[in-house]
């Protein structure tokens, strides 16, 4: 059952230095599965994620032959309809909780805000839902966290709060844009396993955007590799080591390994033809 269908997505920015094409004809479809979008900076992966939620402001422009979510035409939906979608049906988790959580509001207030304003739930019920959400991301002392400000939480805790906040309305699709890149390596594993659990038990669709190919391959079912605004390869995660496109192979091989040789790391020989 296809949750999201995107055909020929293009994102362009009209700057004074000329037209910049961030995304150039990306197509993919997503069911209730996990799709990883991998690319380096400038590949257009973040823009692709934001386009689904129509979060790109002028001078950026989104065009697509088709962009459909559960039967709803995202290209033709009004801003009001998009607002109704963002949150309850499609949620987004971003990289650094320092920048995505409101620094002057207590965590509890932010968690309960959506519930109280959008769903018109009573304060007591909102509070119990918030506590349940925090427990779902394995925060052991939810009452303390509710009363804390974002800067009082560690990076990993902040990101878990972010995930909890996004999952309270039980969305169908979660777009995670580099959710663990700002975290320490030991914390990354924890946060990923929490995310893994939640996505499985709730049967959500997940788009996982990252620059880390190996991480995405371990975590997702399918992987899209992007380069300069285009998809250069689409493959199942388990087939990653048998990737055919030279860019994907290059990305896999250029990372240093513990216990690997001291020889110069194989570097990517970028071929202009890949951008076509």
């Amino acid at each position: 059952m296809t949750l999201l269908s995107v055909k020929n997505l293009r994102v362009t920015f009209d700057t004074e230095a000329g037209l910049v094409e961030a995304v150039r004809g990306v197509s993919f479809s997503l069911g209730r599965e996990r799709l990883g979008i991998v690319g380096e900076s400038g590949s257009g992966k973040t823009m692709t994620g934001r386009s689904v939620l129509r979060l790109i402001r002028p001078p950026g422009k989104i065009t697509a032959d088709q962009m459909e979510f559960d039967g709803i035409d995202l290209m033709r939906a009004s801003e009001k309809q998009m607002r109704a979608l963002r949150g309850p049906r499609i949620a987004m988790v971003m990289q650094d909780p320092k920048y995505s959580l409101n620094p002057v509001m207590k965590v509890g207030a932010q968690l309960m805000e959506g519930l109280r304003q959008r769903d018109r739930v009573s304060k007591a019920e909102a509070r119990s839902k918030a506590i349940a959400a925090l427990e779902a991301v394995q925060i052991r002392d939810p009452e303390r966290v509710l009363e804390a400000y974002p800067h009082e939480l560690s990076g990993g805790m902040g990101q878990r709060v972010m995930i909890a906040m996004m999952l309270i309305p039980n969305p169908d699709l979660l777009i995670a844009d580099e959710p663990t890149s700002a975290l320490d390596v030991t914390v990354q594993a924890e946060v990923l396993s929490i995310l893994d659990n939640l996505v499985k038990t709730r049967g959500m669709g997940l788009i996982f955007i990252s620059h880390d190919l190996r991480l995405v391959a371990r975590f997702c079912d399918r992987v899209l590799v992007m380069y300069k605004g285009r998809v250069v390869e689409e493959l199942a995660a388990k087939d990653l080591l048998h990737a055919k496109h030279p860019y994907t192979q290059g990305l896999l091989n250029c990372l240093p390994r513990i216990g690997g040789s001291r020889d110069p790391l194989p570097s990517l020989d970028r071929n202009a033809a890949w951008a076509n």
Partner: protein, 252 residues
């Protein structure tokens, strides 16, 4: 006698009446032409040690000696010809309003060194940048290119010691590979001594001969590269760090 001797170093910051002990009693030695790695997570104090060497962080205890002599406070021009640093964020370590030419010629001007033109062209070629990039501004370069300029700048005064603060963390994987290769080549060509900081165990393993694992401002365990490769860690923290890093490697 080691080139860099750090003895019981402590760094304490005072902010709004509270004291933050960023580094507590850390000792390490780096031999000439060796590559030494400092690895740890955020808050471990690893970058603070580099900043303390440069005089950018206040030393509250212990000593630092270079070539057997205590370092001068303030550091002075002689120090800058011995020790230079490459910073983490290529977007923040180059002055946004100066051309590459200005950035590279400044150290020469400060020390009154002649031959600016040839030195700049040679520096650009040494780091693999085309010479016609000379009058570009930083925002006209990619992250990897900016980091190359930062490396070129650090080498303008021909120091013996290069301090590297997470030099590739902000770069894409493929650009990281190129940058690490460049650093290795320059080190071999010029006989440099590296003191490198990273949170990425794989990068440290690739680049360094000996490693110190840090946590919460303290030294946890010192390892040789072989010990790391064979997972012969003695402390639990070093083991958990290794497990979390190795976990991200695909089998094969």
């Amino acid at each position: 006698m080691a080139l860099i001797e750090i003895d019981n170093l402590s760094v304490t910051f005072t902010a709004q009446g509270r004291q933050v002990r960023a580094v507590q009693n850390v000792s390490l030695n780096v031999n000439a032409q060796e590559s030494f790695g400092l690895v740890g997570e955020s808050g471990s104090g690893k970058s603070t040690i580099l900043r303390a060497i440069c005089g950018l962080a206040p030393i509250s205890g212990g000593s630092i000696r270079i070539n057997g002599k205590a370092i001068a406070t303030p550091r002075g021009k002689a120090f800058s010809r011995q020790v230079q640093m490459v910073f983490q964020d290529p977007y923040a370590s180059l002055h946004p309003r100066h051309t590459i030419d200005r950035t590279l010629s400044e150290p020469l001007a400060i020390h009154g060194l002649p031959g600016t033109d040839q030195r700049i062209t040679k520096a650009l070629t040494d780091v693999g940048l085309p010479t016609n990039f000379r009058f570009r501004y930083p925002h006209q370069l990619s992250g990897g290119q900016r980091q190359r300029v930062a490396i070129a700048r650090a080498l303008m005064l021909e120091p013996e010691i290069l301090l590297l603060d997470e030099p590739t963390s902000a770069l894409d994987a493929s650009v990281q590979a190129e940058t690490l290769n460049l650093l290795s080549r320059l080190r071999a060509e010029r006989g440099l001594t590296f003191l490198m900081v990273s949170h990425d165990l794989a990068v440290i393993d690739h680049m360094c001969d000996r490693i110190l694992v840090m946590q919460h401002g303290r030294a946890v365990e010192e390892l040789s590269r072989d010990a790391l490769a064979h997972a012969e860690m003695k402390t639990d923290y070093a083991r958990s760090l290794f497990a979390a890093s190795a976990d991200r490697m695909l089998e094969g």
